[in-house]
Amino acid sequence: MSGWDRFLDSFFNAKVAWEYLPRIIDGFWLTILLALCIIATGLAAGLALAVLRSLGIRPLTWLIVFTVDLFRALPPLVIIALLYFGLPAAGLQLSGFAATWLSLSLVLMAFAEEIFWAGITATPRGQWEAARSTGLSFLQTLGHVILPQAVRMVIPPLTNRTIAITKGTALGSVVAVSEILGAAQAGVSFSFNPTPLTLGAVAYIVLFFPVVIAGRWIETRFAWKR
């Protein structure tokens, strides 16, 4: 067998591909589910923290900044391992899915808070003053005037960070979540052939390419009308 044939047989083996495709497809849906859960909780928690920080209560702000810096500093895999292998010692056993979801949500929350906060502080002071001068309360001003502008401003970095962290779902394979990578690795072990990894790569492209395109669409959609 020539080198080229060996290469094709290893990575593009039709028989293996056909056999393990159903598992990769299962992993594909699991990855989507995990990613959606992470995006929903991570962004919501990040926005909530940014709003709490804008209240300007000193001890609360310090607590938020500390938490955010902690989860930005820790590698996501370390958090997943801590929650999955560490918590049982404290009497709490999380499933691999729950540990991955919680860990990546915390990481996305931390980065999203910083991004939302940057948007809030970058919104001109005059917007606050104009809104407050018409009698809107602090929270009404935040909700109706500041956040709509702040969020629009930060959509590009927010999209990037969300995509980057959602790709971290692959880390779930370490704690026995059979998302795309987990399913592919299992396939490799059973078949002694790396073709399932090729399928996995294709699955990731099929999954994330539309997300990247959607990110671009959102950026255009929310630009100011001029």
């Binding site: 407050r132 001068s133 018409t134 009698g135 005037v145 502008q149 100011w224 009308k225 001029r226």
Partner: protein, 260 residues
């Protein structure tokens, strides 16, 4: 002139009733003593012009009048409400005090109509239809009803400032504060804004204007207040301040601006 016509014309000129009563206002920014005991009383229907060199504290004084700046000491009554009383609902009080800013500060994500309607809905609790009808009426008063669905980015500076005026007057305030309303405008756009302000005055609006538009002050102001170094140096009718200033500081300032 028939009686009906006479009634339709509002009474111009100030009444005896004070709308704004600021007494002994001091303001410190850290070490900086920006206002050093300012008294300003504005009567109903009066148009008071505040002039002075930059750093004289005139904008700070104006911003104290709706508590965008918190005075360090002193008292401020607006339309009978004690503005500095902790028990005063400041959001409620601010509906009676319209403010227009140098940089317009329109909300860029809302149309002109949305800008004007926001506080009508969220502060005054009016329904969508009523808020929009009132907002449209306010835009009509600044001659921009035809631009109601334009976003701020699609309007000229002068049009934006007029929408900002509409946003303030839609709440039917008892007094309007103008903080250098034409300073950020190209010269050819100033006229439209001043025309709207003149119409407001003819409708009997009480106004406090910080501005460098001296021709407008001469023509429209009831009283001109000259500030320097955090104090009111001199005040009086425009003819006195511009024609025969009594204080040396006033003379020097008027001399400088007249030379332009």
């Amino acid at each position: 002139m028939s009686l009906a016509q006479a009634d339709a014309r509002p009474v111009t000129g100030p009444t005896a009733r004070p709308i704004v009563e600021a007494r002994g206002i001091h303001k410190h920014f850290g070490q900086l003593h920006v206002l050093k005991g300012v008294d300003l009383v504005v009567a109903e229907r009066e148009l008071v012009f505040v002039i002075g060199p930059s750093g004289s504290g005139k904008s700070t004084l104006l911003r104290c009048l709706n508590r965008l700046e918190e005075p360090s000491s002193g008292s401020i009554m607006v339309d009978g409400i004690d503005l500095l009383d902790r028990k005063t609902d400041i959001n409620k009080a601010r509906q009676r005090i319209g403010m227009v800013f140098q940089s317009f500060n329109l909300y860029p994500h809302m149309t002109a109509l949305g800008n004007v309607a926001l506080a009508l809905r969220k502060v005054q609790g009016k329904g969508k239809a009523e808020a929009e009808a009132r907002a449209l009426a306010a835009l009509e008063r600044v001659h921009l009803a035809d631009r109601a669905d334009h976003y701020p980015g699609q309007l000229s500076g002068g049009q934006q400032q007029r929408v900002a005026i509409a946003r303030a007057i839609a709440l039917e305030p008892r007094v309007m504060l103008f903080d250098e309303p034409t300073s950020a405008l190209d010269p050819e756009l100033v006229g439209g804004v001043l025309a709207v302000m003149r119409e407001l005055r003819e409708d009997g609006m009480t106004m406090v204007v910080v501005s460098h538009e001296m021709a407008f002050a001469k023509a429209a102001a009831d009283r001109v207040v000259f500030m320097a170094d955090g104090r009111i140096v001199e005040e009086g009718p425009p003819a006195q301040i511009f024609g025969a200033p009594r204080h040396e500081r006033t003379r020097a300032f008027i001399g400088q601006i007249e030379r332009h």
